[in-house]
Amino acid sequence: MRPLPPGPPGTPPRAAPAAADVVLDVDGLDVDIATGQGTLHAVRDLTFQARRGETLCIVGESGCGKSMTSLAIMGLLPRAARRRARRLAFLGEDLAAATERRVNALRGSRMAMIFQEPMTALNPAYTIGNQLMEPYLHHRGGHADEARTRAIDLLEKVGIASAAQRLGQYPHQLSGGLRQRVMIAMALMCGPELLIADEPSTALDVTIQAQILRLLAQLQRELGIAMVLITHDLGVVARIADRVAVMYAGEIVEHGAASEIFAMPHHPYTRGLLDCIPVPGRTAPGGRLGTIAGVVPSLVGELKGCAFRDRCRHAQPACAQTIPVLGAPPGQRWRCILEALPATVAAEPA
């Protein structure tokens, strides 16, 4: 892979985005799933924007609703799930009001998605070439030769050698890392402006993971697309995100620039997550790691107050009431009654 020039040292604070830079505008997104026990509120009142040339990471543990969010944006929710939003707009166009036909025209063309497991996302019965060319021919029309040329270009761009020969191969003939590169090339076939990547490197080895993420970061910058990257790995977030949204129990509990969130987390859950991970050179080997007591609450039925309060060491009676969203300049927001976390955050004894 070509080495990338290092970015400018000491990134200047990002200027307030022009409205034209907002590619995806989500305001008050809810996803409800009907279950036998009642309504499961998988995603609750989610508000965020994805901007051109920027990577937004949505981070959270399993069951926090991060994958449901991506499916809701793409209009790919399962049948039992219902989506509601005050505003869900792609390049100023209201997706909630768009017809099925219109959404189909956008999806895979101007908004594309990369899934976690490339082996299940690729069709084993068709060649790589077929699968790369199909969305292009579907959305753009044109001649097959044109699509083929673009497919070869993109395979080379994502770092696959002898791309022309690869077109005739089937997914099972490629390694996991190569398959994920094919998935990335496929997502880029129609020149999307929004790329949603759901755990794109989780199924890969650590060495390959670094390569795939480098590739995504490079393409995102080169092509100026807006990327929403969904992950559970805070290491990935730290290295690739411009902005971060931390999700817990279906809500964004903290949102802000990556540098702010890692330097000074304001929500107890963000703090807890950061304390959980061993970091070579920083956590004492064999020492106690921070933990978050308790389990994620059930999201079925009426929910009130802070969803994290049962596990939070700073919980107070006020946490059962409606929780304000507090903020600090330039852009950090958190959903907690505390202005600042108390300084003592050492790991609790078991």
Binding site: G7, D205, A263, V279
Partner: protein, 333 residues
Amino acid sequence: MIRVSALTRTFTVAAGFLRPKRLLHAVNGVDLAIDRGDVLGIVGESGCGKSTLARMLLGLIPPTSGSIAIDGQDLSRLSRLKLARRLQPVFQDPYSSLNPRRSIASIVALPLEVHGIGTTTERRRRAIDMLERVGLPARHAASTPGQLSGGQRQRVAIARALVMQPEVVICDEPTSALDVSVQAQILNLLLDLRRDFDLTYVFISHNLAVVEHVATRVAVMYLGKVVEEADTADLFRNPRHPYTRALLASVLTPEPGLGLPETGLGLAFPDPINPPPGCTFHPRCPQRMANCSLQVPTPLKDAGGLVACHLYPASPSPRPLPSLQTSSIRTSS
């Protein structure tokens, strides 16, 4: 305590219809020594043979050649039952390693039953004691695995491994299927139990940050061979093998601004059926030299541990250490 010498394991693989079967060397000449009280971390990419090694240590599959000895006794001479009293496993996936139809008390009591220890009531009491020790209150005793979360299931698997009071626990990716907050709980528990029960661990993981945290020694495997072995602190402070350095460089620590590392490893993990000649790592190595593709490096064993690389010839006249080209990109624009 455990001595592994010249251990190999091959599998025959069907190459295709009407084509001759071929040999895959999953573990290819591994020497290891595990002392009492050690936590030996084994790291490497998928397909490097770390799980095959674990299965041989547990006696689940026999080695093709070479030997494993525990306190001087050859493993192949010990019966399965005798071995199970000394070595116990904890596997990666707590969803598939527990019987979904049994209560967790009976899952944990099963090893005692198999070994004919105690009466039914005694076994049940010991199982519940052990469950409480790993952090599962007695009220869960009648639950089935399906009613528990992933972290709780992994606690059951750990209780089942410890109820026989083994000396060695082989943990094969014990936290890989778990969320980070649960991973931290399980790692804390494993470290507590090691202290309380004087355990020795073999800890297999692809997560180097986790290995750095729990292991006292680390062995790095590549295509069936141990390419470097050292004390954890030494290995992380001063990695010698280029592969170890690339692995360490690819760890994404939660430090914004560092960007994404360029490991220089290239795309392809080699085909394990057709391993490259000479040093098997040479096609991906950023520091390869002329003789790397011709000659298998002789492992250098010194006070620091073991390293198998032509940069560290086993004969005298050590070369100066060239610096590794790792560039980092900044992802913020």
